[in-house]
């Protein structure tokens, strides 16, 4: 009671002073390379620090969900202060590209990556690849009774036993690829079959892999590296990755990508940055630290991963993904998958 009844002009003054400092600290330095990264800090942070250290270029990174950053870039438009956009999935980049906000990259950089993993219009370059896989619990399902294709997943005896994450960007990109490759009706039928079989749904890939590893569900459709990471934290888990034997949409390889924003005031630094991400050092980082497939020519994936060619994957025009995404989410919602 005694403390409360004494007025505290000193404390008030201190607060006002703090506010004044805050108000004056609002001008950011413009010499920094501003990076919007949809890859989370745990995946790419150390690599970005290496770039700053090696080149002496100051960087400022904003981490958020790829789709939210795409939305932010669209709202900022010409006023954006971002120089570079790193996206986790091609859908987000294509969205920003369709708004006309991305610069065209020089062919010297584009040529470093195989044509299937860069934008035909030169607006983005793939950095690392991740493959869609079926994760399963080896205590519950034996290897020889696994489905042989993405179509078998929705048929008996597998229907209802395979979990999905309908709101996850990678799952949506996979459905978009199905829309592009097979048409709207085929994609609708596949989704409807999943919904009719009451396929278990989860918030994201992590949740699926967790549920599979503790035996809550038998199988799930996810990206390959989640299980690799779980096994790295706890090698005793019974979760395993499975790829379909023939070329299959279920083996789709999705790329993370980098683009330069059209309004960047330091395009040279931005290009150096892209070049750095395609360097052997950076590509090796993706392979060794995040268990992904390096995409720049001449860098081999980690020996812990199955070779990418072991699981034949289809080639899809990722630039079409951006404009397909709205249809895709509508199809998913209409099927009743949430």
């Amino acid at each position: 009671m005694t403390t409360a009844s004494r007025p505290r002009p000193a404390a008030l003054l201190a607060m006002v002073a703090l506010l004044a400092i805050l108000a004056s600290a609002c001008t950011g330095s413009s010499s920094e390379l501003t990076i919007y990264s949809g890859r989370s800090q745990n995946l790419i942070g150390p690599l970005l620090d290496d770039f700053a250290e090696e080149t002496g270029i100051d960087i400022a990174v904003k981490y958020a969900d790829s789709a939210e950053l795409a939305l932010l870039l669209a709202e900022e438009g010409e006023a954006s202060r971002a120089d570079v956009f790193i996206a986790q999935n091609p859908g987000a980049t294509a969205f920003v590209g369709d708004e006309g906000l991305l610069a065209e990259l020089p062919t010297s950089l584009l040529d470093r990556v195989e044509s299937g993993f860069r934008s035909p219009s030169g607006r983005w370059i793939g950095l690392s690849g991740r493959q869609r896989v079926l994760v399963y619990n080896e205590d519950l399902v034996s290897e020889d009774e696994l489905p042989a294709s993405i179509d078998e997943v929705v048929e008996a005896p597998y229907a209802g036993r395979v979990a999905i994450a309908p709101q996850n960007g990678s799952f949506q990109d996979f459905v978009s690829a199905m829309v592009i490759e097979r048409g709207e009706d085929a994609a609708r039928r596949w989704l409807q079959a999943l919904a009719d079989a009451d396929a278990p749904t989860y918030a994201n890939n992590n949740a699926i892999v967790e549920a599979v590893s503790r035996g809550e569900i038998e199988m799930g459709l996810v990206n390959h590296y989640y299980n690799e990471r779980f096994l790295a934290e706890d090698p005793s888990l019974p979760s395993r990755n499975h790829s379909f034997p023939q070329e299959d949409l279920g083996n789709l390889v999705i790329t993370s990508s980098v683009s330069i924003i059209g309004t960047s005031d330091q395009p040279e630094d931005a290009q150096r940055f892209v070049e750095f991400l395609l360097s052997e050092e950076a590509q090796r980082y993706f392979s060794d630290e995040t268990f992904e497939y390096p995409l720049a020519a001449g860098v081999e994936p980690s020996t812990d991963l199955p070779a990418l060619d072991d699981a034949p994957y289809p080639h899809v025009d990722f630039d079409e993904l951006g404009s397909t995404l709205e249809l895709t989410t509508r199809l998913i919602t209409e099927a009743g998958l949430t």
């Binding site: 009671m1 403390t3 409360a4 009844s5 007025p7 002009p9 703090l18 506010l19 805050l22 108000a23 600290a25 609002c26 001008t27 950011g28 990076i35 989370s40 800090q41 745990n42 995946l43 942070g45 150390p46 960087i59 400022a60 990174v61 904003k62 981490y63 969900d65 789709a67 939210e68 795409a70 939305l71 932010l72 709202e75 900022e76 006023a79 202060r81 971002a82 709101q167 749904t201 989860y202 918030a203 992590n206 949740a207 967790e210 549920a211 503790r214 035996g215 809550e216 989640y226 990471r229 779980f230 790295a232 934290e233 630290e289 995404l325 709205e326 895709t328 989410t329 919602t333 949430t338």
Partner: protein, 542 residues
């Protein structure tokens, strides 16, 4: 809750604030409305978009909104009812009874508010899902299903009851014990005293806290997303990625829903009552044979709301620290990298709490002292900001700052971030602020005026000290909410500006459980320390 008989709390304060004499300060209404307009910026932005874009307006009233709206209202009703009961009960036990360990409970009880809801949900799933920790470690089988509405109600009730606990506990500390003592002398049992004397006087505080819980639940995203209960916000977040028209329309609906709820609450609620002498120690009820049961109740509340989520985090953090990691970015090998995010979190949350508390004070004064149409409008606008999803507020501020010439210098600065927090969470400070203003007995101010004290002097020496506990309770709520805020922080923070919440998000996003847990534990510890030093220790007997 609005049908309770009129409170009898006036007895302690013979002079009702509304019958006070003295000139009406001419600047109060304009300044309150000016502040309210700042708070309304995101809502105004949404309304303008709806006015310009016909499609937004059509979607906002379309039939597609009914199902998620029904689920949202159901969830919010259940959660706010549960939180009202838990918050009021626990506040009464730790302020009015001889419950053992009161000092400790008072520190622990507000803390669940700081556990980000997505961490709470994450822990619940990890613990109770088939094959989870409970089954694994304790060997308990056939646990109840925690997904959907059951899990959502459970997690959100346990994490939001402090919204009710804090204002109610602050109010209990201010209530004159004379009435309760008189009732006891006339032979009323403690339960009767509680129901007939204490509860009516707490009505406005309970209602204020419950409204906050309702609005929080309406705008909640993290827990319902993980527990897969398809509320309005979940639909909005999905829509923002592909179909901005729908997302904006639904956000507008949420804002309007909040306005509606606030108007209903305003119509039913009376202004908070003044209290009399606060110098007397509150009456202490002897729990007697109920002591064990009461302790068990408070203990299990703390166990489920605080110890369980913290325990799950400790388990993951411990596992990560013991095993180590060969990842170069692993936190377990570089704990020092959390220092800057922790300092940023502390600085932002303290500033937001100060700005919000001071900012809403004119509106609190207007509402309590001069209830008018203007005060209702100002009040509703502030409160509506709380129900808008953080993402919608952030995007509105992006457009408003970048589109308005000189303001664009503030884009993605800490200043804008503090402003965003203040307008998002100002409602929390407002309700506590109203209770605080009402706790200043009019006769004291009149006496000071009669003795020739000027307005500033009266404010600083008479009113402010009396209002301090209430203001601190409100500031505490804003502080805790800001510390865990995510959607607006991710979009509006300067590039390179990290907080503990963004660190946790980065780690959970990719299932680095150990990293997420270490940062999460630090966030909880930091909020405990900050609320202790800035709020609990100073708000007198609280």
């Amino acid at each position: 809750m609005s049908t309770l008989p009129p409170a009898t709390g006036d007895v302690g304060a013979p002079t009702s604030p509304r019958r006070r004499l003295g000139p009406r300060p001419g600047w109060l209404t304009p300044s309150a409305l000016a502040v309210a307009l700042l708070f309304a910026a995101p809502l105004v932005y949404l309304l303008v978009r709806a006015a310009i874009d016909h499609e937004v307006a059509v979607t906002a009233v379309g039939s597609g909104v009914l199902a998620p709206l029904r689920r949202t209202v159901l969830l919010a009703t259940l959660v706010s009812t549960g939180a009202a009961i838990l918050g009021t009960g626990s506040a009464w036990l730790v302020t009015r009874t001889d419950l053992p360990g009161r000092r400790v409970w008072r520190i622990l009880l507000p803390l669940p508010l700081v556990i980000p809801s997505f961490l709470g949900a994450f822990a619940l799933i990890a613990a109770f899902a088939p094959g989870g920790l409970v089954e694994d470690v304790l060997g308990v089988r056939n646990l109840p299903q925690v997904r959907g509405i059951t899990g959502s109600v459970l997690v959100l009730t346990l994490l939001t009851y402090p919204y009710v606990y804090l204002p109610v506990a602050a109010r209990l500390n201010q209530l004159p014990p004379s009435l309760e003592e008189a009732a006891r002398l006339f032979g009323r049992r403690p339960t009767e005293v509680f129901r007939e004397i204490v509860l009516p006087q707490l009505k406005s505080s309970i209602l204020a806290g419950t409204l906050l819980v309702f609005l929080y639940t309406v705008s909640e995203f993290g827990a319902v997303q993980l527990l897969r209960y398809d509320t309005f916000t979940r639909v909005i977040f999905t829509a923002f990625k592909t179909d901005k028209t729908t997302a904006l329309a639904l956000s507008l609906d949420l804002g309007l829903l909040a306005l509606l709820v606030v108007v209903l609450e305003r119509l039913s609620a009376k202004a908070p009552r003044t209290s009399g002498d606060r110098t007397l120690r509150g009456l202490e009820v002897r729990l007697g044979r109920w002591r064990a049961a009461a302790t068990a109740a408070i203990g299990s509340l703390t166990l489920f709301a605080l110890a369980a989520p913290v325990g799950v985090l400790l388990f993951w953090a411990g596992r990560g620290l013991l095993r180590g990691s060969d990842r170069t970015s692993a936190l377990s090998s570089d704990l020092g990298s959390l220092l800057i995010p922790a300092l940023n979190t502390a600085q932002m949350s303290v500033l937001a709490a100060v700005v919000a508390t001071i900012g809403v004070l004119p509106i609190a004064y207007l509402t309590v002292r001069r209830r008018s149409r203007a005060s209702h409008v100002a009040n509703a606008l502030v409160v509506a900001g709380f129900a808008l999803p953080g993402l919608a507020i952030a995007l509105a501020l992006v457009v408003l700052t970048l589109g308005a010439g000189p303001l664009s210098a503030y884009y993605q600065t800490p200043t804008l971030l503090v402003f965003a927090y203040a307008i998002h969470f100002g409602a929390q400070a407002l309700r506590a602020g109203e209770v605080a203003v009402a706790s200043v007995p009019g006769r004291l101010d009149d006496a000071a005026r009669a003795l020739g004290a000027g307005r500033v002097r009266r404010f600083v020496t008479v009113e402010l000290p009396l209002m301090t506990p209430g203001l601190l309770a409100g500031a505490g709520l804003v502080l805790l909410s800001t510390m865990k805020e995510l959607p607006a922080t991710l979009l509006l923070a300067p590039p390179g500006f990290e907080t503990l919440a963004t660190r946790i998000w980065n780690a959970t996003n990719e299932a680095f459980l150990a990293d997420a847990s270490i940062a999460g534990l630090l966030l909880i510890a930091l909020s405990g320390v900050l609320t202790w030093f800035l709020v609990i220790r100073r708000s007198a007997a609280l």
